[in-house]
Symmetry: C2
Subunit: 245 residues, 2 copies
């Protein structure tokens, strides 16, 4: 049975303008690989309602899960929750359970929510909250869409909450073999090996360390025995490759 | 006149599997902002022919420019050039000028190209080479699509070659004002200001430094005088905001 698939939708002008280096995709990619959900697309879009709605609808139709990051804070540029409600054609309003979480978190600092902070308790009808230990403001899941914060520490906490609730696939395993030759010199046997083992994927990643031009070959698959076999065959190729630049 | 727009298409299983942290989008975003081309989408897709072709066709129809990163090396998983040719419906073959660049670079190391290395001289019909000082293997531009390497040092060199050839827009300027209060407490006046100055975009980015909960407000636009005005109004808001968490 093929693994569940996923897309990530990152929402934020600050990534597209070059102000902020996107920080959540790498974490999510690693976690999804670990649990056997295949991440197939990452898309970064601006803080624009129609673009978010259209992207959400395209991605949720195309993949088992969609994970979003960003745009669920209290300010005017936080429009993700409304866009999600619009994409699903449902209403959205402040919800008691979300408000209570916010109030409890602020009470710890001797505060009560402002009207704008209460915006963070606006939850689309039918959604499930993503409670987390870092932020009082929850994320939420609706249908196959999981809506999470852009602040990295909160994003990580929300991923930790959500992933155990999803049906896992076969964890995607990987093995790596290092060649100290440029990739042009091993491309031919590598291509033959990739053709001979279609259940696995072979990636070729050149590197340079001082005078060494090298290539890391990464094999990915779900069957440990097949991966062992591939690594053995790669080592045979390596032993037969003339040392050269 | 609105600025030219752009999308970036990152091609590579290694990003989606979490093996590699994507490193080129942040650089490209900053460079495009500098020259006044508005980056509107970043999309990361796997090494799959149909997905690359479909993404390319969607993005090149939607934006003034498309910049790609990855998949133009010599190995079996480098399929970008063929996908670009397929997207444009043109042929692709080893081209003399590209082969000469490759041969010259390898000759410096006492080598001649292998058959696989020659794959890097396969250029879609009608494309213009993106020559660069780091790699003998060129990128290329065809129509509004600019095809570049995934290796960061080569990507940077290729961006440096391509950008001066494109029509620039009005550089997108930004100014930043730091508030030492959480964003919930300034959301209301910020929303009023954003409504009052629709030519500008206002982003709100919370941060935490030890015990300080703060918010950086970033204003973006193309008119320096308007930005000065916005900064002055933000400073007025700041002076009127009660010091609080």
């Amino acid at each position: 049975m093929p693994n569940p698939t996923a897309a990530m939708l990152v929402i934020g002008d600050e990534i597209l303008s070059g102000r902020t280096r996107e920080a959540n995709a790498y974490h999510l990619a690693g976690e999804l690989t670990r649990v056997g959900i295949d991440l197939k697309e990452i898309r970064v879009v601006p803080d624009e309602h129609e673009v978010i709605v259209d992207s959400l609808n395209a991605l949720r139709a195309g993949f088992t899960h969609v994970f979003t990051s960003g745009g669920i804070g209290p300010t005017h540029d936080d429009i993700t929750a409304d866009a999600v409600a619009a994409a699903f054609g449902v209403g959205i309003d402040v919800r008691d359970d979300a408000r209570e979480l916010l109030e409890a978190a602020l009470a710890g600092r001797g505060l009560t929510p402002t009207a704008d902070q209460l915006r963070m308790a606006r939850i689309p009808d039918g959604a499930t909250l993503i409670v987390n230990g870092v932020s009082g403001a929850p994320g939420f899941s609706i249908g196959n869409v999981h809506v999470m914060a852009g602040v990295p520490s909160i994003f990580v906490a929300m991923v930790e909450t959500v992933l155990p609730t999803l049906e896992a696939g076969a964890p995607r395993l990987s093995r790596e073999v290092r060649f100290e030759v440029g990739e042009g010199l091993i491309a031919a046997p590598l291509r033959e090996l990739a053709d001979a083992m279609p259940e696995l994927s072979f990636g070729s990643y050149p590197f340079r360390e001082g005078e060494i031009r090298g290539t890391n070959i990464v094999v990915r698959g779900t069957e440990p025995a097949l991966l062992d076999d591939a690594v053995a065959r790669l080592e045979t190729i390596r032993n037969g490759t003339p040392p050269s630049a």
